[in-house]
Assembly symmetry: C2
Homo-oligomer: 356 residues x 2
């Protein structure tokens, strides 16, 4: 089956070392139809010690909106405890056509409900983080060809084998735009001091910086046998958590604007053997530097590669990511959230009044 | 010299009639380097009976910001009287790299000055209409290969002959994205009733609808001899004005969200023999329908074509346009403007507080 490919004649040199052959097979996503823009949207509710009932009500409400005409092709339910120790209920939804997504925004009722939260003062915070990128600003990688998650579950998505992996800079090389654009941070990677706000009541809009890099990095170990399960839980997962702690503890260096460790949940609220880290970085460059040189990432990387080599096609833990380098104009919204929510402290943010 | 071309395998049929050969030569813009995003930004000041001094001060202030590091490659000065009979001083500036534009926004001081206008209450309104589109959402046409204006004046721009002209739907066919996307209006071309606001004091953000179509259509007759000058001023220009009046008088049908007839001016404020119409439509479809079927456009079109055929390469009036079909996320901003300014009455708009 033919798949849509987008490739520009290189102006910026590739990072791939001459003659590189990857040691481990890896896979990436294509679509059989051309989709020149991709949309992934995160819907969140936050509160201190959120009960299962409140979480479940939020999931049901968002799923109600998503079920309207022009809703997403797929969505997932997740939860996350943030750095301020607030619980977050999260729904992520995927569209492969921004016109369909725009129609959904106009007619589903979500927007009106979301905006009404500002006056509702129901004790919870709400956030809405839509990511819309041109196709040439995305890349994906999967450790196995069979497990579908994230954008891989959208219609006409095809998982294809790649060889652009196994060297530092491979993620950049997989971004079609990187052939002609260095994808530099306009802020040259300099983080601003976090805004000193004691409250973020009301409705806030926060501008994602141009060329900020948004990553969803996933782990799936359902059905893993005793040996690989133990290795994952006792070896790989702790290494991953140490890496994530390093990223948020050193924001000035890592450019980490926001990071959430999320657990996928079933419809009944029970946790799945699946997590993902959803993070926003000021620049691809900073994320790459951590990946290429910091021992917290090298630890993760070496262990994952060693397990892949040891178990080969019998590897029972799937790791993957989808990455987006956003353009100017991507805005995240927060209503009655605590001031450290998402990217709020680190970017240009404005409070807005209800539409008048 | 090689130029950057972007062409997708067609999924959506072309509008070009089989075997079509255009009757008149036309030209379009390419760049020798790949620029996957294009940025054109309109800066405006409005007031009733603006004096030359105030206009000139505004031009000087904006040009001061544009002269900062990472400023645009080119800019132009214009004036326009709007439908509410306010005078508008306008500067349009062009960038071919959104990273450079973003750096300029961060460091030029423009943003801080613009936002400070909300509290200044200096009796004038200020507006800021940035247009950022992926390359595949733009198209251009010129009646002559030699005159440079708009994006054609940016570095490494090349004017090339085309044959995708002279049929209805040619503009659509020239948009690379139209090969794979019908570029439909998510609102299905339905205009909302204009917002009934008596005032728009303060700072407003207005969301340009997804797939709204922004057109700058230009006319240049400097150095035209007596015969062609008279024909332009007595025949073509009045037809053009009738067409523009029709567009704004029938917004429900035409989808016209905003339209400004602008005159280019020299540095000393004297008018040039050059105008352009800068307009935003809810959909490409509505603009096309007017162009293909309404006698106000057919009048303009037939006259321009007849003059081109009569004078051939001796034609002394140049007509051209640049057209952008924007993505969701493009926001226009208005500070202390009257409520009928720009797209304000017809789109989702919110008042924002100063950054806190």
């Amino acid at each position: 089956m033919g798949v849509f490919e987008l490739q520009y004649d290189r102006v910026v040199p590739a990072r791939r070392p001459e003659g590189h052959q990857p040691a481990a097979p890896r896979y990436s996503l294509r679509w059989s139809q051309p989709h020149l823009s991709l949309v992934s949207v995160y819907f969140g509710m936050q509160s201190k010690q959120m009960g299962r009932e409140a979480e479940s009500e939020f999931f049901a409400r968002i799923r109600g909106f998503l079920a309207a005409a022009d809703g997403p092709q797929v969505h997932e339910l997740m939860r996350s405890c943030d750095e301020a120790a607030y619980d977050n209920a999260i729904v992520v939804a995927y569209w492969t056509d921004p016109t369909v997504y725009s129609r959904w925004l106009l007619a589903s009722g979500f927007r009106e409900w979301f905006e009404s939260r500002a006056a509702a003062a129901d004790g919870a915070g709400y956030w809405f983080e839509p990511v819309l990128v041109p196709y040439d600003r995305h890349e994906t990688i999967y450790s196995a060809p069979s497990y579908r998650i994230g954008f891989a579950r959208t219609e006409d998505a095809v998982i294809v084998p790649i060889t652009t992996n196994g060297f530092f800079g491979a993620a950049r090389d997989r971004l079609p735009l990187s052939a002609v654009d260095a994808l530099e941070s306009p802020a040259r990677g300099v983080m601003v001091a976090p805004a000193a706000r004691s409250s973020c009541g009301g409705h806030w809009m926060a501008a994602v910086p141009h060329n900020a890099t948004i990553l969803r990095s996933g782990q799936f170990w359902e059905g893993a046998g005793q040996e690989q399960l133990e290795d994952y839980l006792e070896q790989l997962q702790p290494k991953l958590m140490r890496g994530m702690q390093h990223l948020v503890a050193n924001r000035g260096e890592t450019g980490c604007l926001s990071l959430r460790i999320m657990t996928n949940v079933n419809e009944d609220g029970s946790p799945r053997a699946e997590t993902s880290v959803y993070a926003t970085f000021l620049s691809l460059d900073q994320l790459e530097r951590w990946a290429a040189s910091h021992e917290t990432h090298l630890d993760i990387y070496r262990h994952a590669i060693a397990m892949n080599r040891q178990h080969k096609e019998k590897r029972e833990v799937v790791t993957w990511h989808e990455l987006f380098v956003v353009q100017l104009g991507n805005v995240f919204e927060y209503i009655n959230c605590h001031p450290a929510t998402g990217i709020l402290p680190y970017v240009r943010a404005m409070r807005v009044e209800l539409p008048l």
